[in-house]
Symmetry: D3
Subunit: 325 residues, 6 copies
């Protein structure tokens, strides 16, 4: 009879936090999926960007700035690395310049991960990578509920005839039937036209703008979204870092002023305790635009930790991402 492997972050009392090769949360970099519950995986593709490029450099920057993550989440009262075996899987071998071939690579990489019943924490890259990820997850779980944190709608039909970009992935996902209930949170900034709102309505997308967050607070702003999505249905969260204000997260491709604070962002994820979270992506971190000390990557690293802790709390409470896990 074999023993389950125990996978843990490097011990900071042995190796100081700034030492050793950098992996997410100083977790093992390992592609052996045996006994693994959660993977951190990068998809460093930025061929879908329409303004500033550079999100391809996101995953390694997030890793480098995740060195301070310690094992116990005091507000959720959970120790995620005790609950789950988590590894840093490395990155998908993307094909710069080709969305289609990158999508195949994503599919090829995710299939075995999901087949092992592993929850992915996905680090972009630009937002176009969410579409192939959703496809793989929906293949396993069926149509997903989606909470999409972003300052932009991302449901345009095409840019310059291009159907697969960081601004069209949501429409493609809807067209491909990958989604059930869809909500968008944090929307703001100038839009193309009033028709943008009409499209959301036509698709029964629940839109909570940034105004809802600033006027009502996180809890009230999210309530209709949480109410709309039954706890036991598979939920995917796609988090564009630009939903956060540039003061906290400048390093992104299409920044919009007036966004969430870092605390609001953390609370948004924390509010998902009790939901069957089957995956989380954080995308559009473009480190070349970060201030000294890399505040945006630091925040993204913490948002992953927040999501992971929610998943761990859920697990302790009997909620399983995979139905028969």
């Amino acid at each position: 009879m074999t023993t389950r492997r125990k996978l843990q972050p490097l011990d900071a009392l042995v190796s100081p936090r700034y030492t050793q090769v950098s992996t997410y949360a100083r977790l093992p970099h390992d592609r052996d999926l045996q006994d693994v519950d959660v993977v951190f995986i990068g998809i460093p593709f930025d061929g879908g960007t329409t303004f500033r490029s550079g999100a391809r450099m996101g995953p390694q920057a997030v890793r480098e700035n995740s060195r301070l993550l310690r094992p116990y989440h005091m507000f959720l009262d959970v120790s995620p690395f005790e609950v789950f075996n988590v590894v840093d899987y490395g990155d998908v071998d993307v094909i710069p310049g080709s969305f289609q071939e990158t999508a195949h690579a994503i599919s090829h990489t995710f299939r075995p991960i999901l087949d092992h019943g592993i929850i992915p924490l996905i680090c972009g890259g630009d937002h176009s990578v969410t579409l192939p990820v959703l496809k793989e997850l929906a293949y396993i779980h069926g149509p997903l509920n989606l909470i999409h944190f972003d300052s932009h709608f991302d449901f345009w039909d095409a840019y310059w005839g291009q159907k697969y970009t960081h601004g069209t992935w949501l429409r493609r996902s809807l067209e491909e039937g990958l989604l059930r209930h869809v909500a968008q949170a944090g929307i703001r900034g100038p839009q193309f036209s009033r028709e943008d709102l009409a499209y959301a309505a036509s698709q029964h997308i629940l839109v909570r703008t940034i105004k809802d967050f600033h006027h009502q607070g996180v809890t009230e702003a999210l309530r209709p979204i949480l109410d709309m999505m039954p706890d036991q249905e598979p939920l995917y969260v796609s988090w564009d870092i630009d939903v956060v204000d540039p003061a906290y997260a400048m390093a992104t491709g299409t920044p919009e002023v007036g966004g969430l604070t870092s605390w609001q962002a953390l609370e948004c994820l924390r509010a998902l305790v009790g939901k069957r979270l089957v995956g989380l992506d954080i995308v559009e971190v473009a480190p070349a635009y970060d201030a000294a000390g890399a505040p945006t990557s630091l925040l993204a690293a913490n948002l992953f930790y927040e999501g992971l802790s929610v998943m761990a709390k859920n697990y302790e409470q009997g909620i399983r991402a995979y139905p028969n896990a």
Copy 2:
């Protein structure tokens, strides 16, 4: 019979947002005033600064960081470029090192613009440029109401014998009879002495400090100001970017901690719907002090858009900047 020209931003579905020569909001750079309703105009003068110089580089940085502005304002439900023909007029040909000659250049440049009944969006430069602008506007509209967003009072008499600086323009404006009701919003930071407050009182200036904003919220903090100023009277807004907190707007000459957030700043301008706004300046953006990605210039670009959208909304509601326009 001639047709009215239709002036529009570059179409992002033809030219991606990061392409082509940079003008404000990717609007036409044009000095033909025919059919123009609003101009964006730079006054890159920083000879009035008393601490960090560099605001002369403001206008071009704001232009460069205005590329993401799209045509529809969803919170105000208005499409400003549909309502108005807007152009980027370029900059006043300032005379570095001479306030007096720069003031003449401003006068010379503004006269025909105002004669055409055009509303100016004025990008500094340091705050000293507001005085000659006010002079031109008051020549057209009579004494103006002024809402002055700033962390500083700017009504000192002189610095080192210099009467025309970014800290004295307001006193000069008062002395020259250019203003009717004056309010200051966002004041904070250490002051020279208790007499500063006394001067404000003696001039019937309504001061709402930053504490009012943080404790009461934007709506309540602004209420006495809005109440004081009849809707139909011409209102000028002078916005020193340092009213915003350095976390959001570090790139300025005399930063003060504890300021407005970006969302509060947007709401301050949005609150002006219904007022007869005849001009708006945003000054003291000193781009050399900006973080990577230029968050301060990005914010300034959006604040102009916010002001423009308020003007457009007003226009839709029958409020005209020029009485017989």
Copy 3:
């Protein structure tokens, strides 16, 4: 009969604020303790850091970014440089690489300062320097009440066998009997384990997390702390700049997202009016990680000013730091 010296900041109407050798608040750099009430003193030691080093560069950066501090605090209605003679004492001659010898140097430097009944404003350096400072102050005042603003507990027993680091100073202080009532404010971020909280409880440390501040506001969050500490007992405040959010204060060794805003930080200090404040340190400013324009150092410079103003206000109200002063 001699006259008391009058020590004042450089007059900005003689020497513009950006000119002349940089001292804290442009105060005299003076080691003559006669007639001095408050000193600004740097302790540029960073040998106790466990992540990013660089806090040794803090004091000079804070000095350089204190040039805008003017003499009158409008919210507290006090002119601190009228109330107190304040000087910039310069730095302790630390011994890089040796905490023990640096501790001796601190002791050696502080003894005469405290013997003159002077209140110290202490600029780190990393947090390890607080221990020897507390030792000197407790020698004069007896056990101190401590409000510790920080995102971290700092009461671990040792790192890699090292007992004197920026994460252990509080436990050492408790063990050495230097403290009476202890409260921690702003705690957040991932912790090592649930036992961290147990240790706090076992030591009767009152912990107010960042959640208390974001959910209740500064006043309510601080109330239990203020209630716990009698006004007439000597109070020391130790402020780790990382209690503030990285958007406002990125330049620090172990940043944690989700922290205080700059305004909340100012209000935290302002709330101490009425308490017998005998010293204040601000530590862990690591300027190499600051954004352009040095926002973190600017904030730290203002926080010292806030603390100084509270002390001055107290003095006006009859509260003396030294019992027989």
Copy 4:
């Protein structure tokens, strides 16, 4: 009878150099090709990059940093804007994410420019854009001689199956018969294998490595190249900014240490006086990686000026880019 238009940079004695909308060398932004001799044109495409992306932001940064270019070249004794009418044409409307469609756009944009007998100064974008440019030029001039300044060979067959990238354009150009004599200058850094050199030899490419430049000086290093290329044959120069050392030009996608100094770079272009230069591109400027003050873009702006001055000098000496011009 019509007069030839006289197109000139903005007069710095009217509009200070830091004022007004930014175009290359403050030249008119104009798409009327009448009477135009040279165009500056941007191709902001970076879909062909294999390491750091961001070259799409190159053209506007080069424009912004070309404001200091004055009219007289003292070392060549020529006033290029007197010799030629030069305009800033703006950018090609590239299609981010699609090389093929961008290539069509390039073709579509260049055809009328070349039909007017205008010499293009082409600002990348990544190096993949050179292929379609060469195609258009060869269509007009026949097979071109090429001097390729770069630290990399750029003649690999494919990356991840992609045939059109910034590392394959030269092989494609050779395969498509666009080139006659080819020389590479400045090659350095680690290579994939010894076979790289063999390929160069097999294609009769004359390779002058960086070692030749550092050991022999610019004149001697370039002599074999200049000897190989008859003066009257059309010559195209393709300049990857990474041929310059990162100390001078860090802002590029694949930097290699040990490169040219800025002075050597200027001398390389200056050495081309007497050659029939039909076009010049400078590519791979990725401004997000530039130091404060934008030294890389500043250098690129000057290199264009150097090339333009060489063309002007040639013109004065009777050398025409277009045979019957």
Copy 5:
């Protein structure tokens, strides 16, 4: 009988180099001119700039980056602080926005310094400050020889009618009869017109361009200049930091590519051993444009040290700046 004061830099074996209030070379900040031989003095005025402003921040940045200067110059074999008593005098109380009043302040400040037979090391500020300094020195020494290191000629008549700017000081100095032999070294970059060279010739200015330095080396490039100026005549050196290449000194107002390396710059000053050097200025350091770590200010601090060491070496060899000193 009184003893001569002995003024020395702070001892780095007592106070580590990164500690204590920052003065030039950690020298005493002192305005007592008794026994002083050389002063470092800042003139933080940038009202004469025609492109990027910000040189007003130069002096304090140079001080801060002079902390590594140790007492012995090994290449000149001299210990300047043994030879001379040197102090940091602080800054002239300039009047921002007024060249004329600043010129009076310079005069007022320099008169007693020169009356004490003290040699000034002058840190700009922009280049306009050299004119009033020359006036004071010529008042003492009679017409001066001048070596002007710069990439620009600085002898234009006026900008926008302004006669006193950083580009006109040299013509004013010539007109006012302050200069005898004048040489310019390092000239490069695009010029306004061929007439610029004619003006130099008409004034008998010896121009050595950057090409002379790169082609002949420092020694040969300077030889004609040194030959032209008799050793015993008073020599002033005015050094615009932009004579150095932007790779080494980006932080300046009007950078020009292709300049001196740092080693060449050091050698230029070192070549002046044997000349009666009566003053040295280094101007146009604009720290906001410096890269991390402040390389430009570091270089400027070293260039002052180089000049000071030359003066000390001269003194040891019997050459006196003041004839009867």
Copy 6:
């Protein structure tokens, strides 16, 4: 019979160079020493710094910026990863704050590496780490020849009583009898006193200053050093990154102007072909002071590659680091 493992960098044609967890040159991160010939190993200790701290962040920054290293060195005509199995061993588990305990950790970590006959490439950390490394190597090889590239002598006796710092390691090494022939190259900058040179002479240290390099060229400057050291004797190279000019390598603790160019630095290492190189360290990279794009770390990564290629070339020519390897 087992086969020798074949360890190779990640294939860039499978995983683009910017993808996957970052190790030196994208080599395997592996602590299995079987079949390993060379290790890259970090020693992230900066407790020995006397000015700017931060070198502890060096190793990971060098790894991150080594992604562009390809397999073939064209100037040496060698493929180092074909010759050697190289791995990234990770970092020594240093003890921040304690040199002595860190020295033990270094000893403990290096012993098995050297016992396996593996050549170390050592990435600092500050220069104090070289002493324990030399001790381990001398234990294996006997007294070593040392070429010390640096701008500083590093042979002072103590700082503030501290015997083990980045400025004293060389004297300690000499005292402990670890060294045979010692040479220093690139020395420059102000020194403490003339006695510094006397100490070098007394220890028979051959000093080649930076002047030798700039005046004679790399080959001639190094000739006396190479002549002094018999080829078959074990040679260690210790490279302080500050020997390179700040224009190329600003990110270091005690930068000195006037240093080597990047090309000169490469040539210095390349000149060692034929010498029995038993180890190479590159120290004092302090990434927080690097410009955008990380030029200093990029250079350091390339210098390691240069050293490795020399070792590989030597191996091909029959020179073995370990006598019986």
